[in-house]
Homo-oligomer: 390 residues x 2
Amino acid sequence: MTDAAVLCNAGKIISVGKTRDALKDPWIKKNKRRLTEIDCGGRVVLPGFVDSHTHPAFAAPRLVDFEKRIAGATYEEIAEAGGGIRSSLAGVRGAGKAQLSKEVLKALHIFAAHGTTTVEAKSGYGLSLAAELKSLEAIRSAAGEWPGTVASTLLGAHVVPPESHGRADDYVKLVCEEMIPQVAKRGLATSVDVFCERAAFTEDQSLKILAVARSHGLSVRAHVSQLTRTSLKRLLAFQPLSLDHLDFVDDNDIRLLANSNTVATLVPGANYFLGLQEYPPARKLIDGGAAVALATDYNPGTSPTANMSFVLSLACTQMKMTPAEAISAGTINGAWALGLADRKGSLEPGKDADLAIFDVTDYREIAYWFGSHLCKQVIANGVPITPTGK
Amino acid sequence: MTDAAVLCNAGKIISVGKTRDALKDPWIKKNKRRLTEIDCGGRVVLPGFVDSHTHPAFAAPRLVDFEKRIAGATYEEIAEAGGGIRSSLAGVRGAGKAQLSKEVLKALHIFAAHGTTTVEAKSGYGLSLAAELKSLEAIRSAAGEWPGTVASTLLGAHVVPPESHGRADDYVKLVCEEMIPQVAKRGLATSVDVFCERAAFTEDQSLKILAVARSHGLSVRAHVSQLTRTSLKRLLAFQPLSLDHLDFVDDNDIRLLANSNTVATLVPGANYFLGLQEYPPARKLIDGGAAVALATDYNPGTSPTANMSFVLSLACTQMKMTPAEAISAGTINGAWALGLADRKGSLEPGKDADLAIFDVTDYREIAYWFGSHLCKQVIANGVPITPTGK
């Protein structure tokens, strides 16, 4: 729509339409409100991005892994050499909650600088009861200082920590009997995630964790079929809000996804950063009827980016999604993947006033000018933020 | 070097060293100068990027081509359907010089926002005598309003324009007998480029153009081996400053490059945007002894990015260059590719005061945080610019 306006009040959208209609909206007269106008100058305004898969609770970038990978090491070789997820453990376990919270808040500001107003934030670099709780507390504390919206996820089952090497079932027991109950009791997360993969947790272990999470009233999601294929059938029985990565889904998996309410969340930033030639089969998923969301997978090992516009570019150039499909995937479908579609992901009356203003005049330009910093301003829950982050 | 400082005066670098040494530099006492200090707060300072291959003289993004390519059309199919380079002609031919200059200046500011202080700028979307001269005049006019440094290149031989269809030799004659002499006479460019490729100009036509350029005292460069292989032997005889793209070089070409003073300029942004699985063989070139530069190839059809940090990320993740190699390729080797290595591309006494300050503490982070906007401030020829561009 051109010559458009979004009328907001108290953090909510009142109406969306032509500017002339917005200015005559009966709500204004009825409530005798003086309007604060933000003139977008003909620029593109979108609902703020909903980034439904991020890992912001870490202490430092992983520059050594980055150089090792350039020299030819694989994901699993890096992990076996003590790099990968495990190399972020020491930093997180040793960090104070305030320090970790500062890192998360810094990341949240960078997300906002690129147009994201809702962020899913996982723990998963602590991998002990104390360090996972600390990570979720740090996320909660950072979220409290950020105008946007954060949905927290316990990813205690990211990998088996070194001290539980060879005793994965004991670690799963810790996740199920201590982490999940305490997180649920203290309201530290709304969702539980598990990395169901050869190098992490078996399908049986993953299902056990999801079952316990559901029994505690938490939503569930899983990292699956990133490195090797796992049939989605048994995972889908737990009605996950989202299954993520999905590089190795087959036609049968796609049919199952299409017939479910589960969103397929693709994170092509990881494929890009790992230098893989293959990307998740976005076209097959969409054409097969699955709901596809896009997310950054912001994390220090495999996807150090907080820029959703760039993820949209990857979706268009590497996965052949249209710019319109990519925008839907980064907004409303991301909201579905978080169970927040009633409040987030589109510009509709009654939804939260989350808007991103881009310095372009055609929405397709957001994916086109790749690697650019196009976001001019964001409004999160009605609060204007001028981007300053990297 | 940590705790470092760069002492500058009148647009030139006086000294580079430890802060304590800089503050005691005899130059200060001798010249009785009061210093203006820019505190970089421990951040990484690099020589400003030298972007040695860009096409900024165009009027509009090519969003239709972008969507066609997503739907499956190839580079050559888009060109044959009237898209591609030719679809930018109408915009440039119809634009006033002032309008075109405004577009170029806008682009130059975006380059600077990402840390670039020297930009090679080609014509090549006019493809008539008048429109090519207008493009170069627009570049000159924009360069005059920008604190950085612009090196202009005539790319009259980009493709054969539609009105010369089937009469390529006549168009080559126009380039050789009118464009090059006028450009040389009026000092509108320092360099002549040609697109030596199946869909553009034959090797013989290209060599003819380079010979005429050399006879007018201009430097030469060529787009070559992007879509199909051309042996570099005859091109190298003209001592080009740079040969660019080089997706299809073989071992023999690499040997020839290694034994020449010609820089191999790689533009992986084009491979990325075209969704190609293959990238230029940077490792083979470097390991074989060729001097490799990296550039954005900023253009509306195949590489709409002005972000050199992102090109460094592509170099590391997709071409397995180390972060240090990528930085050299985007600074000093780019300067060699423009014949400006005596003034640009490194922080050394006597060189131009072109600096870029990045919001990171380790140089490897510049390629690591992909799709991010890390540049905090640039200084071009001694003039500080605070980034504001997209």
